[in-house]
């Protein structure tokens, strides 16, 4: 940009909400290596890994993605005390892990794998490193406003998950999207086409809106994605695209 030349923009096939085998409801097959293979099959350029209340598998998926030319951003899908799901997505792994520590500070209880599912920490070679003992499926003690503020303090983007969904979607839980909540955007599930989102859900208003797979199984990867026009597959470029600045934009 300092050269004064215009940025070269291109379209990135993006899915900012994929779970791994670390989420209790995530399938055992959702290992870092398998996820990246499925993303290659789906021709995705850019993904974010957002497990429930944790980011412990994001480093492994990112390293595996680097081997195969897929950009992986580290994130979390946090459950607020209002039982609303909200994505926090970062550029730097250390910021995601700092967010994770803050989330863990508000998360009580121990997982019961036979009830809620196994929570597998894995590496990029598909090896099991251990199980996360926390109750990752639970709600944190953190309110939505605090979660958005903490995400921004760590240079992350804050997106309200699957706002069309009855379970843990913000509109169902809170009746409407709090007007003062400083979200960077909202996500709709694969069940609604992105171009129909605002008419189907007038509550979205003029907030930036994307769609993602919310994949818990390998077969889910690719069922929804968003095309972003940007200069590079980075978080700051995603921010520009969400806001429609500098020629960046949400295409479809």
């Amino acid at each position: 940009m300092s050269t004064g030349k215009p940025d070269v923009l291109r379209e990135f096939k993006t899915d900012l909400h994929i779970h791994t085998c670390l989420s209790p409801c995530g399938d055992w097959e959702m290992s870092p290596r398998n996820i990246i293979q499925s993303c290659r099959d789906a021709a995705l350029d850019l993904i974010a890994i957002c497990d429930h209340n944790t980011s412990e598998n994001t480093g492994a998926v990112r390293r595996e993605g680097e081997r195969h030319g897929i950009c992986v951003l580290p994130g979390l899908e946090i459950c607020s005390k209002e039982e609303v799901h909200i994505l926090a997505i970062f550029e730097e792994l250390e910021h995601a892990l700092a967010m994770q520590e803050w989330v863990y500070g508000g998360l009580e209880g121990q997982n019961q794998p036979e009830v809620f599912g196994y929570q597998i920490v894995a590496n990029e070679d598909n090896e099991v490193l251990g199980e996360n003992p926390r109750l990752l499926i639970g709600a944190t003690r953190h309110g939505l406003g605090d979660i958005v503020r903490q995400t921004h303090a760590l240079n992350g983007l804050s997106l309200s998950s699957h706002v069309d969904r009855p379970v843990n979607g913000i509109i169902n839980q809170l009746g409407f999207i709090p007007p003062d909540l400083m979200l960077d955007g909202v996500e709709i599930s694969y069940r609604i086409a992105l171009h129909q989102a605002r008419s189907a859900l007038p509550e979205i208003g003029d907030r930036p809106c994307i769609t993602s797979s919310d994949a818990h199984f390998l077969k889910d990867i690719g069922r929804a994605y968003t095309i972003l026009r940007m200069a590079a597959p980075t978080l700051s470029e995603i921010g520009l695209a969400l806001r429609g600045e500098g020629g960046r934009r949400i295409v479809t």
Binding site: K81, E82, E83, G143, L144, G145, I171, N172, Q173, L174, G175, F176, P178, D180
Partner: protein
């Protein structure tokens, strides 16, 4: 029955909206999904919920409620208290669950005889 009488009778703690304590209670509702409460809560009700988010004030104003009780020992957010004071909407807390409190209110005649 006035909100004030229920505060005294059930030892509810007044967190906000003290100026609204003379509102009349015409019924009751329990719910934590605000979309459901927005659609169904009867006008003039006392609403029992575990939600403490600012949005509960908007929902209560929309449904012209008498008061909100946050149950189970939970507390409202700071912004909720400020907004409820502005709206003169009583926000009360109770260590009882919604089930226990609603049972006692119903036995007193609050909302009794109503059909869904």
């Amino acid at each position: 029955m006035r909100v004030r009488e229920l505060v005294e009778g059930f030892n509810l703690k007044v967190i906000a909206g003290e100026l609204g304590l003379d509102r009349e209670v015409k019924g009751g509702y329990c719910g934590d999904l605000l979309s459901d409460v927005m659609a169904k809560a009867p006008v003039g009700c006392i609403w029992m919920t575990v939600q403490g988010h600012l949005n509960i004030v908007a929902v209560a104003v929309l449904r012209e409620m008498a008061a909100i009780v946050i149950t189970g020992g939970r507390e409202p957010d700071v912004e909720t208290v400020q907004k409820a004071d502005q709206e003169q909407l009583p926000v009360l807390t109770s260590p009882f669950s919604a089930f226990e409190l609603a049972g006692r209110l119903y036995a007193l005649g609050v909302g009794a005889g109503r059909t869904p």
